[in-house]
């Protein structure tokens, strides 16, 4: 089982790295970080690059905006696209268990998707080191952990959509809708409006806590800004209820659980139905 899983993960990794989307994906995240470092959008716009904290904050916020949709759009083509192209018919006629194939594919894709995002952060850390600035290691570790969690969450959602959808076009439409709904339920957009309409705070906070994008956003800001000055109204209520440490743990664990549940649901449905 584990041998087959490792072989499948390796195959998925090789296949993904050769795909055109991976090149675009890597270039986007690399370019974002290079631009952030070069434009001095760091501790001070006037003084240029004077430290890493704000670079990481900005990078994390950009990740929140583009990482989920990138993952969803590329991931949903995975099973649905393979099914359409006849790849599943052949690959699943080889003696590999469905578990090894499904989770191996997810694992391989995870490495492919996470690596460019992480390497961009590593480049920033290296740059700070070269320039002789202190590296905020705790912030670096927390940010990385949150990115690990966010990536897994959307890979799981992507795999679920890909498993359910009959065609890759349907899968892409569904992925975009999911992303849009989660985006609309961010603190500062729809939740802000809901607060203005005087909905009960419990409902607003529950929605904020259920939205993995909102959870990531709040937690990532909390890493750099313990007072959450920049955040919307729901975040303050959440922070009051859970505290900083509590919310950082929640911010890491919840998207992981969300992604895992999505992926497991996808696997159960995949195993139960027609594979091709």
């Amino acid at each position: 089982m584990f041998k087959s899983l490792a072989h499948t993960a390796r195959l998925e990794l090789t296949e993904s790295i050769r795909a055109r989307w991976f090149l675009v994906y890597s270039l986007v995240f690399g370019a974002v970080m290079v631009l952030l470092l070069a434009s001095g959008l760091t501790d001070s716009r006037v003084m240029g690059f004077t430290g890493l904290s704000r670079t990481l904050t900005t990078y994390i916020q950009i990740c929140m905006a583009i990482l989920p949709i990138f993952i969803l759009i590329t991931m949903v083509r995975s099973v649905a696209g393979d099914r359409e192209a006849g790849v599943l018919e052949y690959m699943l006629a080889l003696p590999v268990s469905l578990g090894a194939w499904y989770w191996g594919k997810l694992l391989g894709r995870y490495v492919t998707v996470f690596l460019p995002v992480f390497l961009a952060v590593v480049v920033a850390v290296a740059w700070a080191g070269v320039r002789g600035f202190d590296v905020p290691w705790m912030e670096f570790l927390f940010s990385t952990a949150l990115l690990v969690s966010l990536t897994w969450c959307f890979l799981g959602i992507g795999m679920l959509i890909s498993t359910i959808a009959k065609t890759s076009d349907v899968a892409q439409g569904a992925a975009f809708t999911v992303w849009l709904v989660l985006l609309l339920f961010l603190d500062l957009i729809l939740l802000g409006a809901m607060v203005r309409e005087q909905m009960s705070s419990e409902v607003v906070v529950t929605i904020a806590l259920l939205n993995p994008m909102q959870v990531f956003r709040t937690a990532s800001m909390l890493v750099f800004d313990p007072e959450l000055i920049l955040m919307g109204p729901a975040a303050h209520v959440i922070l009051d209820a859970l505290g900083r440490t509590g919310f950082l743990i929640f911010g890491f664990v919840y998207p992981l659980v969300f992604g895992t549940l999505s992926a497991v649901t996808g696997f159960v449905l995949f195993r139960r139905g027609d594979l091709q």
Binding site: R18, V87, E89, L92, A93, V96, S97
Partner: protein, 281 residues
């Protein structure tokens, strides 16, 4: 060995397989024929455990949906349409060999026998190969491993006559107990390879007959051909079959693989008006 008992499969209320009952014992070499949409590929996918169906599909009593690895470890499969994989050929072979507990070199040897230059294509993406190369590689993967069931969907459709000859030889080298299930929409493609023909039409078995062909799959027959006049198109076709000409293109000689006779005659029928003599022995 393989049993389909009252197997039915519907897609959006359309019956693609309708109460199919078939059983294939050791050594069965079955041609699964029928027009497009007859249900051949669906039946194969049920055997591979890729479809949920009504009724029962089993290999030595084991349901391929319940014990996928156990059943699929026994089946060498060649699909009709090669998958558009971007991975290099070498990676694909290593992956398949590792899952099948086989030696990648063994698969490469079969592919080489079929005419592939593995040194050249090993690093190329599979999807970039020509149709014939893909077919040869997939046959190499299916035959370069231990299996007592071969399931092949139009296996020789993209092969040139020389490669088909080698392919027939490779099949004849398999254990006589091996079950071969070959799907084709043309009986002449596979007739000489099989000892049983099952024809499907709109999801039902309309013919289940045994074939008495004594030609050994590895047999090769010498052929000489006399033409009334030279003809460029025929010359090109005969050259592709490995024939050599003499007497200014009026006399051709070569060999035809035993199982390829029907196909050869079908090809020659297009030039019947030019043939003044034909000997096959």
């Amino acid at each position: 060995m393989i049993e389909f008992a009252k197997v039915s499969k519907t897609f959006q209320r359309r019956a693609v397989l309708d109460d199919i009952s078939l059983s294939f014992n050791k050594g069965a070499r079955v041609a699964l024929v029928g027009s497009n949409g007859a249900g051949k590929t669906t039946l194969i996918r049920c055997l591979l455990g890729e479809y949920v169906c009504q009724g029962r599909v089993s290999v030595d009593g084991v349901d391929p949906r319940q014990d996928r690895q156990g059943v699929l470890a026994r089946i060498g499969f060649v699909p009709q349409l090669p998958p558009p994989l971007k991975i290099p050929v070498g990676e694909l072979i290593n992956y398949a060999a590792s899952l099948c507990c086989s030696d990648p070199l063994r698969m490469e040897q079969v592919a080489t026998q079929l005419g592939l230059d593995m040194k050249v294509i090993r690093t190329q993406p599979f999807v970039k190969l020509s149709g014939g190369q893909k077919q040869k590689l997939l046959i190499g993967i299916a035959l370069g491993r231990d299996s007592d069931i071969l399931v092949m969907d139009e296996p020789a459709a993209n092969l040139d006559p020389q490669s088909r000859k080698i392919f027939f030889n490779l099949l004849s080298e398999r254990s006589p107990d091996t079950v071969m299930l070959m799907s084709s929409h043309r009986i002449d493609e596979v007739a000489a390879l099989v000892n049983r023909v099952v024809e499907l039409d709109r999801g039902k078995v309309v013919l289940d007959d045994h074939v008495a062909d004594t030609v050994d799959p590895s047999a090769v027959q010498a052929c000489s051909l006399h033409l009334s006049r030279p003809e460029d198109a025929l010359a090109k076709t005969l050259s592709a079959w490995g024939f050599a000409s003499s007497d200014q293109g009026l006399v051709w000689s070569g060999t035809v693989a035993g199982p390829d006779r029907l196909r050869f005659f079908a090809m020659m029928s297009r030039y019947a008006g030019l043939v003044s003599g034909l000997e096959l022995k």
